[in-house]
Symmetry: C2
């Protein structure tokens, strides 16, 4: 492609409404433009990357036995009513009426539609397993669309749905998809991890998320430093310390702590580490048979964070988890939230393993402006339950039994689920088994955020000059900047020759053929901004020695390549 025949409207200034780097760079590089909140046009440069991602996803889905189809974006309400999601799904489901006042939605996902197809078209176990996928535009009416295409309302997704006679088959396809996803992200050239995930609202029991690692990621992921284990921080188990609990060595002592409310205040006041203190959070308990509720105290170490999903799974805690108000605490416990502690507390106490393992700790005295020091379990106070109710932190032992946890941030770009019979049961999607008995099919579903991958790749790799694309999804793999092409016949001839050779060899090449009114400095800066991984500079000086200057986008310095070897040079460097 020649720059003069293409369209790359780069911006010098960073648009003020773009917060994250990928959004800024996609706007600046002329990859996308905003049409309205959460709605983006993919400009020609951006679309090239999007299509490359699509192609890799498609090829690997095909390799893994996926069968591509294409379902409508607009879906009838009736199917969503059958699955009961018409009512359950929040306002992200864009519900619309057609000219005849019939209800439809703009599809955020396609479980209902594919299950409808399956129940109509499949009748026998002999047709199973089947794994259908599509690459299609979806719509979710996010309350606060942000970060450009990272969390847009309209976006491109690959969604796959598999159908099975039994659990074994579902498990097999799930594993095949797990492998296919690894192949996809490997080929995309991204640093990623499959992580054990909470399956969230879609339902089902087993799921993995695929995260592209990036400091700016919205999700925290816990990894083992010596195994393949990785899990969403919310899902990672904090193993209890199995060593013996240290014995008390201090006296219980009530100390006046005026105006010291937070853990940081208290640790500083007593000159101890926060991990020597207790944090007590008061929530509503599960109502008893008469409907009466008490408050429940959740106690963790001062340096830890409560994991609400884990806490919610404790029997005595009300679902969904709700914190007691200051007024409720004052009324029932007779003090302010900042001074609650286990000593003498009347409510049931759920204590985290690590908090239960402390001795001589500092905690609230259940009296405004006072704390205890030298407090100890058993001797000074009792707990009702010990459980895992905190988020894991760096240095925790890995739940897999090998090594310690490291926490990194990631961007979710894929998600695979074993759905089981959630949708097939609701829509009565059955087949006859070998004995002629009607059986509800089991399902898996497998999503990839195709458009989001473009942003995630940029979040993972960029520098102060712009994007750094992996070869596989760069809009162009090689950029050519000729120097003074309109003055030097030699530069012009060699440039055209190299451009043609590389293009014919199958590389995606961008030749910046703009005339001298655009300076080489501007051309270099734009090639760096749009992130072309390989750059050639063709000038008279080099050609005098039959060489062309080459620089990788992330290299410090350039090298030279003989003109005659240029195609082989790239065949070596770039996997087509």
């Amino acid at each position: 492609m020649r720059t003069t025949e293409f369209f790359i409207p780069t911006l010098k200034e960073t648009p003020t409404d773009a917060v994250v780097i990928s959004h800024q760079l996609m706007l600046r590089a002329g990859m996308i433009r905003k049409l309205a909140s959460g709605l983006y046009t993919w400009l020609p440069l951006g679309l090239r990357t999007l299509r490359k991602i699509e192609r890799i996803v498609r090829e690997e889905m095909d390799n893994a036995g996926g069968i591509e189809l294409l379902m409508p974006a607009i879906q009838p309400a009736e199917l969503w009513q059958e699955s009961e999601r018409w009512e359950q799904y929040g306002p992200e489901l864009l519900r619309i009426k057609d000219r005849h006042q019939r209800d439809f939605c703009v599809g955020p996902t396609h479980e209902e539609v594919i299950t409808d197809i399956a129940r109509n078209e499949l009748s026998s176990y002999k047709q199973l397993p089947l794994n259908f996928y599509q690459i299609q535009t979806k719509f979710r009416d996010e309350i606060r669309p942000r970060f450009g295409i990272m969390r847009a309302r309209e976006f491109v997704m690959k969604d796959a749905y598999s159908f099975h006679l039994d659990e074994d088959s579902m498990q097999q396809t799930y594993e095949r998809m797990h492998t296919a996803y690894c192949n996809i992200f490997d080929r995309l050239g991204l640093n990623y991890r499959p992580v054990v995930a909470d399956s969230g609202s879609i339902g089902g029991s087993t799921s993995h998320e695929f995260h592209v690692l990036a400091e700016s990621g919205e999700d925290a992921i816990a990894f083992s430093n010596s195994s393949q284990y990785a899990a969403n921080v919310e899902k990672a188990v904090a193993l209890p310390d199995t060593t013996e609990c240290p014995a008390p060595s201090a006296e219980l002592s009530k100390v006046a702590t005026p105006n010291q409310h937070t853990i940081a205040d208290i640790a500083s006041f007593f000159s101890v580490e926060p991990k020597q203190t207790l944090k007590t959070l008061v929530v509503h308990g599960q109502p008893d048979e008469q409907g009466n509720t008490t408050l429940v105290a959740l106690i963790i170490r001062g340096d830890h964070q409560l994991n609400e999903i884990k806490a919610e799974s404790i029997h005595s805690v009300a679902t969904p988890l709700t914190f007691a108000s200051d007024a409720e605490i004052q009324a029932q416990l007779n003090c302010q939230p900042g001074s609650i502690g286990p000593v003498g507390l009347s409510t049931p106490i759920v204590v985290d393993h690590s908090a239960a393992h402390l001795a001589d700790f500092i905690c609230g005295a259940n009296e405004d402006g006072y704390h205890y020091t030298g407090a100890n379990w058993q001797r000074d106070c009792q707990y009702t339950t010990v459980a895992d109710i905190r988020n894991v932190v760096e240095g925790d032992p890995s739940p897999c039994g090998q090594g310690e946890l490291v926490i990194k941030r990631g961007i979710e770009v894929g998600h695979i689920f074993q759905l089981g019979s959630k949708y097939s049961k609701a829509l009565n999607a059955t087949v006859l088994d070998e004995k002629g008995k009607s059986v509800t099919m089991l399902m898996g579903c497998y999503g990839i955020g195709v458009s989001r991958i473009a942003a995630a790749a940029i979040e993972q790799k960029n520098d102060e000059h712009g994007i750094i694309w992996p070869d596989a999804i760069a809009p162009f793999q090689i950029g050519i900047v000729p120097l003074k092409m309109d003055k030097s016949e030699q530069v012009k001839t060699i440039t055209e020759q190299v451009y043609q050779q590389l293009t014919e060899a199958g590389f995606d090449v961008l030749l910046d053929d703009r005339d001298r009114k655009t300076s080489p400095g501007v051309k270099f800066a734009e090639m760096e901004l749009i992130g072309i991984p390989h750059r050639l500079v063709i000038g008279e000086r080099g050609l005098a020695e039959d060489v062309i200057e080459y620089k990788h986008r992330s290299a410090e310095n350039s090298t030279t390549v003989p003109v005659s070897e240029i195609v082989d040079f790239f065949k070596e460097k770039i996997t087509l």
Copy 2:
């Protein structure tokens, strides 16, 4: 692809709600399934054809300098309000509200969005001309979706929009697109014609439609039998007969014609051809300055059809064209519509050229139950205006001056327009010209109904056994049916070998690897139904002589090809 790893849910019965053959065959061949009125899922087989059409369209658009981008399906109302189409566009525009009650639509076309991009991104004549295109899913809320994907509500379209400084540039790109469209339809392997068209509601002055010829087509197209001229019947000019008008040879005579109302009745009653009679249609006239209207009589030959678009362009006729009611005719002309004629008529009379060229004609006597015979213009009655107000018919001289017109039916699959400044003016899309003066850009727009092409191709070519695909868009080009593969090692070995060789050579091959429970007869019938153009049958009998049976889908009989020559045989036959 192997049949057992693919998904082709064919139907034996023709679904009762499918009227046209392409809809019936797409359902029966397992290409599409209906989700709701006008909403179809593209099943795997159908999607293969759709993608092939897309690829050819994309390649030829790229070759013609088009630059691909991708605009959102959901569009904000504000842009449509700027162009005034928010109010003008009928209920086909699906207007929706998001969660914040802001107005959007599901885009039926993208003039507004692309013009918004152009006005934001283009500032100088140096950036022009530019021609952007996308292949994207559109939605039009048709009041009566029908014929399957032929007139669906959600459909895939290629839409392109070009931007220009002046008319010459707009004309050049228009011609380049005309050529590109011919290349596309040539490559698709379809019998098609570009025809001069009315530009309809999108606006602008010059346009061509591209029609795939098929007997079932909704549109009638007039062709010259000795030139490239082709025009929509509504748009084709009926040239006046330049020979001298025949002289009267009969006396005017009033004849009682009880219960004879239609042209057919009258022609039969008098034993003449309908072309010797006059048909008089009464419409409302253009109001005068005081707002008073009279009726106007439009008179054509009995064998002709009124062309309403032509009639509407007559100055004395009201716009839009509205027919007078029976009551109005009775009140003002004192007789019933079936007995109106020019003799003694008080209204202005607009007569078609061919009707004006008649002598001794039969017409209504403006008295119920009476007609005149032997009527003649000038002598017996006068007309106010002579004009072209009828549809052309076969045998009319071609407006191009060469040959006679032939009428064929077509399916519109493409449309190119010179839009001019309709949208750029409304949205104030300007650039600075060479002198630094702000100029409103001119635009062209170019659409192809990508999904509709699949149906049109089927309408054009099918037989009692099913679809007959052109090679270029066949879901599979070659089908292999092995006989008794599970019994004969030789058949199995050669089948696998041939399948692999052809696949590696780049052909799309479907190997029907179902076991003996599916009879060869069923396999043959399905290959014919789904329209695979080239079929190989591999059996022991042929292999004994080292040959494979070959048959083209539209051939009567099969031939044989030596096993060793099979790849070369297809390289000769199929253009990849």
